[in-house]
């Protein structure tokens, strides 16, 4: 690599470590989003339901998870939750590397609480007339939700969701505490081995900033794509 020649910290195994950490961080982001978005949607629909039976658990979930540091949740899912499993399952889990799945679980479940907040305000921004119009066209509750309300609510929430994705991207760095070999973990590894702390941190900062900038850019695009009445 041309670039690596100019920066010794990017050469040889250090470069490989950074690259593998960066890829794992992106994978964490992707999988956690894949968990957080549908769950957040489910929670938002639950919280906007008229039935208390649907509302109470969804509200409890959101209030509970958003008031506990994501760091503690990571520690919980990695160290505490597996203790509830039978010993042989736990052993198999740790043998196959529980770090990555536990990190995805913790980050995704945490993000879902915030995603549901954003989707809920997106839902609430839909004018009442939209519901009435949908039912006037003969659509049932589910049908109007799926075909009329949700598509608009999702578009409403896109900028806020981009912001959540950004937060999630930054939170992936915390997975280092349970030993997931993401970017921050690899950076610490490079630092300990090369004694070039500033350079290692600089590389990591640039990589984090690059993805953050990309996500922020997507948020700006999403802002333009919102339905007219919400702007």
């Amino acid at each position: 690599m041309q670039l690596a020649g100019a920066f010794p910290i990017l050469q040889g195994k250090y470069g490989d470590w950074f690259l593998s950490g960066f890829i794992e961080s992106l994978q964490l982001l992707g999988w956690a989003l894949l968990l957080a978005l549908p769950l957040g949607l489910l929670l938002a629909v639950g919280r906007s339901a008229t039935s208390r039976l649907a509302r109470a658990p969804a509200t409890a979930y959101v209030q509970f998870l958003r008031n506990i540091p994501v760091m503690v949740q990571l520690l919980f899912w990695y160290f505490a939750a597996p203790q509830l499993l039978p010993a042989f399952v736990r052993a198999a889990l740790y043998r196959h590397g529980a770090e990555f799945p536990c990190a995805v679980l913790a980050l995704g479940l945490y993000a879902a609480a915030f995603v549901s907040e954003d989707l809920l305000s997106g839902l609430r921004a839909i004018p009442r007339a939209q519901y009435e119009a949908a039912s006037a066209l003969g659509m049932g509750r589910w049908q109007s939700l799926r075909r009329v309300i949700l598509p608009q609510a999702l578009r409403n929430s896109l900028p806020a969701l981009a912001s959540q994705a950004l937060t999630l991207w930054k939170n992936t760095s915390l997975a280092t505490v349970i030993g997931a070999s993401e970017l921050m973990y690899q950076t610490q590894k490079v630092e300990t081995e090369s004694f070039r702390g500033a350079e290692a941190f600089a590389v990591a900062t640039v990589l984090y900033l690059a993805v953050s900038t990309l996500i922020t850019g997507l948020g700006v695009v999403a802002e333009r794509w919102r339905p007219v009445h919400a702007r």
Binding site: M71, Q83, S173, V177, G219
Partner: protein, 242 residues
Amino acid sequence: MSSVLHDYWAYFLVGQYPNGPLGGLALTLLLGVSAVTLALPFGVLLGLARLSPWRALRWPVMALVYVVRGSPLLMVVFWAYFFMPGSSGRGNSQFATMLAALVVFNGAYLAEIVRSGLEALPRGQLEAARSLGLGYLQAMRHVVLPQALRNVLPSLVSQLVVTIKETSLGYIIGLTEFTFIATQVDSQLITHSTAVYTLVALTYFALCGGLSLLARRLDARSGPQAGPRPGGWAQARRAVPA
């Protein structure tokens, strides 16, 4: 869980204090409150600098805010750890490191909120103040800032919630705050992880949930006068793209 609580409650609350440095929940609270208290003036300064007429001031601050907002807090903590003098020593230097990181991180977020508050204010306000004979700084202090900050100040409590959650990162640099104590207790007991971490999660929930509730009460009380500002900084942080 009750046996863990029975044996370790003092350790959870104050760490080794009075026989050692203060730690535990008390340190978490102290760090959270100090960070919020210092981040506010720092954020206001950064926000003002972002809109300063001098390019030499505006651009570096703009770069700082951009970098900090795009980086994970942990990155900022590591940078602070790297730059803080004597941070490899013992004692409370981890506290200073964590405090510096939290102030810079939250200050950068706050700077954007202060900036948007300032930009939302009609230019006429500054011009009117200047035409009354006030200097630039005087006009800022007496006329512009009070109006721009009105929406920021009441949300200090919800900012405290966010910051308390962030103090848990102190664990990574060995600051003996609540989460650190929990990991210590966990490694001493070995087989009680579920009880320890459930206890810790519930404590954070009670603390942050209670404060969130208080924030909502205060928000409701401040009424329509304060304008639309549902979640305070925490909300604004999510609403304003970095």
